[in-house]
Symmetry: C2
C-alpha cells in the first residue's frame, strides 16, 4: 500500500478545486442552457447511433468533460423520445421542471440524509411540508400522512403492502383474499401485488363501461358473489386517470361499495390526482378523499423530472405500523412534524426527495401549476374537436387529457399501423398507440408543461400530412 | 375556465426564460460553490432552528429565490449531520461527489425515461455500462446482470424477491423455508423480508465470532439440523462489512455451505463491496464472486450522493424472470446490451440513475476511487493505533474502515454515554455509538472521500479533549 501522502494526493482528484469546478460548471450550464433554448425546435422522437458512447469505456484514467458532454448531447439527449419536450404526447409524458434540476443539484451537494429527522431535520421538514400539501390537495383529513418515492411503482407497492398488513393477509388466508382491479389497471399495481406476495390472492379484473371506467354494477355483483362463496373481498383498486385512455373510475361509488365490505380502497391517481387542483375536475374525482390510500406521480402532472412518486394514506398511522419496526413508539408522535421517512416507507437510505418538489412550488407558487393543468384540459378538448373534423374516429370525450383516435374503418388495423410507424419516422411530435379489444388506436396525451397550442397544432398538422401520404 | 391565451401565459411561469434562468443559475452556483469552499471548516454536526422554513408556506404566489436559498443555507444545509463533510464519521457516512450533482442536474433537464431502451436508448446504454462495470468489480461471470436502485433497501428487496421466486417460495411452503442471517445483519434485509412476505419463513440469527463475523460452524450445524427436521434451508445472507463494526463474514466458507444445501447465497455488500477495487482487501472478500446476488451502495464507498444502490445477480436471467412480465421473450435478448431496466427491477418509472455514477467514473477514471479507498484503510488503521495509545479499549482490528472503541472499565456505560453526548454537543466531528451485548461503544467510520489525515487528527483531538473534561 502506498504512502498516505501519495494516496491523499491521488484521492483528492475526486474533489476538484474551486477554479476547476467553476470551469466545469460553466461548460455544463452552457450545455444545459443551449439544450433548453433549442428545445421548442427539437423533434419529439429521434433515432440515433452510439459510437461515441461505446468508445467511452470506464477506465483507470479520467476523460475531459467536453468529450463526455458531447456524447451526452448527441447520443443520449438527442435520441429516443424527447421527454423534456412539449412535443412528447405519447404514453404519459414526463415533465422536467427546470427548478427541480437546481434542487437536485443542491441536494446532491449538501447530501443531507433525509431518512431520519435527527440526521437532516431541515430536509425532513421540507418533505413533511410537501406531504401535508399533497394530502390537502387530495382532501384527506389531518391524520393523513405519506411517503415520497421514486415513482408510482414503489408508491403503489407501499400502499398495497399497508393494505396487506392492515388486513392481516398472510400465507394462511391469502388464497381466500380477493383483489378487484379494472381491465385497464396499471401494470405497476400487478408488479406490487407480485412483490408483496398478493399475486397468490384471487384477482378479479372488473369489466369496463364503454367509456373505459370500472363498471360498478359488475364490481358490486362480484364482491357479493365472492362474499357469498366465503372469500374475503379485501382490496379494491380504482384508477384516477388510466394510462391508456385517461379514464377516471367512479371513485365515489367505489368508495361506497368498498366500505360496505370493509375493503381497503386504493386509488392509483399517479396520472390524474393533481387535477384536484382544477375546480372543474374536482367533481369528476369526487370520492378520492374517501379512499384509504392514493398514489400520485409528481413527475407526471406536477411536471417534475422522473423520480417523484408519492403514496398517501388517510390514516397515517397505518403507514407507520406497516413500515416501522418501532411503530408502537412512533405512533406517539402523532401530529408531530418530524416523522422519519424511513418509518413510513420501504426505503431506509434514499435521495433527499423533498427539495425537487418544494423548490418549484415555493419559487413559482401553486397558481401556475393550476393554470398549466387547466391549459392542458383546454388543449386536449381542442385536439379532440380538431381530430374529429379531420375525419378520425375518436374514443370517448376526454375525462382528463388523453384522447384515443384512429383512421376509421380499417378493420385489420393496417392503415393505423402504417400511420403510427410514419409518425415515429417523422418524429416531429411523439405519439404512441394501444390496442383495445383488438382495435388499434393512436393516443395523444397532453401532460407536459411545455405543450402549448403551437405543439398541438403541429401534432394535428403532422397527423394530417402522414395520413394523407398513406391513403393516397 | 379562462381563455387559452391567458392560461398559457400563466402556465409559462413554470418555464423561466433564458435571462431569468441564468440569473437564478448564477445565484445557485454561487451558493453551492460557497458551501463547498467552506466545507472543510464547517462542523460535522449542528443543532438549529427552523423559523425561516416554517414561515415558507406553499402558497398561490411564488417567492424570490434568495429567500429560499437563505433558508436552505441556514436551516437545512447547516443543521443535523453534515453528510457532505469529511468530518462525518458516524453511522456509515455518505459521499456526495460533486460530479454526480452535475450529472443529476443534466439528467433532470433532459429528463430521459431510462426504464425502456426504446425511450431512452443512450441513457439505458449508460446504465448497462455501469452495471457491467459493477459486475466486473465483484468478479461475476458474463451472464451476470443487475439493476440500479435508490439505495440498499430496494436493492436487498430485489435480490431477496429473486431468491424467493427462483426457489418457488409461496404461501404453501413459506413456513418451512429457512433464512439464515447474522446477529448484525442490516435492518434493510429484515424490511425486505417483510415486504416480500418472507417474514413468515423461519428466521435463524446465527451467532457471531469474537470479531463479529458469522460463526460458520454454527451456520453449518443449524442448516443440518433444519434439513434433518424437514425444513427447507433456502436463503443465506452474508455481510461484506456490517454497519456496526465493519466486519466481513467468511464469504468463501458461506458460499460452500450454501451450495451444499442448494441455498441462495446473498451478500449485503452495501458498505464493503467496493473494497474489491483494493488488491489487499480482495482476499478478505473472497467468495463474494460465488454468491447468487450482491448488493452495493455506490452512495457509500463509491462516494456518490445518497440515492444510489445496486443489485447484481450472478445469473442475470433470474432477475428478468423475477421482474419482467414478459420475461420469456426477454431472455432471448441474452447478451444484448439493451435490457430494459424496468424488466430487471421492481420499478417502472424512476429517475435516470446511470449518469450520476457514469459521469464521475468517466471524468475522474477508476484510479482515484481506488486510491481513495486505500487511503481510508490507512487512515482507520492509524486511528485504531492512536485511540489505543490514548488509553481507549477497542473492538477488533478493522476488517474495513470501522473501529469501535470505548472508555475502558465503565461497567454501567455512564462515562461512554457522557462522552458521546459531549461529542455531539461539540460537533466538530460527528461520531455515533452502538450497544453490543449491553456494552456501549463509540464508532468511527471512515468512508467519506473528504476524510483525510487532518479530519482524523481533529477527531482524535476532539475525543481526547472531551474525555478529559468528563473524567476530571
Amino acid at each position: 500500500m502506498q504512502s498516505l501522502t501519495e494516496l491523499e494526493k491521488r484521492a483528492r482528484v475526486l474533489e476538484p478545486e474551486n477554479e476547476q469546478r467553476l470551469f466545469i460548471w460553466n461548460q455544463t450550464i452552457d450545455y444545459a442552457n443551449q439544450f433548453l433554448n433549442e428545445l421548442p425546435y427539437r423533434p419529439g422522437f429521434s433515432n440515433g447511433s452510439f459510437e461515441k458512447l461505446e468508445a467511452l469505456k470506464i477506465e483507470e484514467a479520467g476523460k475531459p468533460v467536453d468529450a463526455l458532454l458531447e456524447a451526452l448531447k448527441t447520443e443520449v439527449d438527442a435520441t429516443g423520445i424527447n421527454s423534456a419536450s412539449g412535443r412528447h404526447m405519447g404514453f404519459i409524458p414526463g415533465g422536467g421542471l427546470w427548478a427541480s434540476a437546481l434542487a437536485d443539484m443542491l441536494s446532491d451537494i449538501s447530501n443531507k440524509y433525509s431518512g431520519i429527522a435527527f440526521s437532516g431535520p431541515g430536509a425532513v421538514k421540507i418533505e413533511t411540508q410537501v406531504i401535508r400539501w399533497l394530502t390537502s390537495v387530495i382532501g384527506y383529513p389531518a391524520q393523513a400522512f405519506g411517503n415520497l418515492t421514486s415513482g408510482g411503482s414503489i408508491a403503489n407497492l407501499t400502499a398495497i403492502k399497508a393494505a396487506r398488513d392492515h388486513h392481516g393477509i398472510n400465507s394462511t388466508n391469502v388464497r381466500k383474499a380477493v383483489i378487484y382491479c379494472g381491465e385497464q389497471t396499471h401494470h405497476s399495481v400487478y408488479k406490487a401485488l407480485h412483490v408483496t406476495g398478493l399475486h397468490e390472492a384471487v384477482l378479479r379484473k372488473i369489466a369496463l363501461t364503454e367509456s373505459f371506467q370500472i363498471n360498478t354494477a359488475a364490481l358490486k355483483q362480484q364482491m357479493a358473489d365472492d362474499k357469498a362463496e366465503g372469500l374475503n373481498p379485501f382490496l379494491v383498486v380504482g384508477s384516477a386517470g388510466t394510462t391508456d385512455t385517461g379514464a377516471v373510475d367512479p371513485l365515489d361509488e367505489m368508495a361506497t361499495i368498498s366500505s360496505q365490505y370493509n375493503a381497503w380502497f386504493h386509488v392509483d391517481a399517479a396520472y390524474g390526482g393533481f387535477f384536484m387542483l382544477v375546480d372543474e375536475i374536482k367533481n369528476k374525482l369526487k370520492g378520492i378523499e374517501r379512499s384509504d390510500s392514493v398514489v400520485l406521480d409528481p413527475h407526471k402532472t406536477l411536471f417534475l423530472p422522473f423520480g417523484s412518486g408519492a403514496v398517501l394514506l388517510r390514516e397515517g398511522s397505518v403507514l407507520l405500523s406497516s413500515n416501522s419496526s418501532k411503530a408502537s413508539y412512533l405512533i406517539d408522535t402523532d401530529g408531530a412534524d418530524d416523522i422519519n421517512p424511513s418509518d413510513t416507507g420501504v426505503e431506509l437510505t434514499r435521495p433527499n426527495r423533498g427539495l425537487r418538489m418544494w423548490l418549484p412550488l415555493q419559487l413559482h407558487g401553486v397558481a401556475p401549476f393550476r393554470a398549466c393543468l387547466e391549459e392542458k384540459l383546454v388543449l386536449i378538448r381542442y385536439f379532440y374537436e380538431q381530430i374529429r373534423k379531420l375525419g378520425f374516429e375518436t374514443g370517448p370525450y376526454p375525462d382528463l387529457t388523453v384522447v384515443i383516435f384512429r383512421y376509421p374503418g380499417d378493420a385489420d388495423n393496417r392503415i393505423n399501423q402504417k400511420l403510427i410507424a410514419a409518425i415515429h419516422a417523422d418524429g416531429r411530435v411523439f405519439l404512441s398507440s394501444t390496442v383495445i379489444d383488438g382495435k388499434m388506436w393512436l393516443r395523444c396525451a397532453v401532460v407536459s408543461h411545455r405543450t402549448h397550442l403551437t405543439e398541438i397544432d403541429l401534432a394535428l398538422q403532422m397527423i394530417q400530412e402522414n395520413i394523407q401520404r398513406i391513403i393516397t
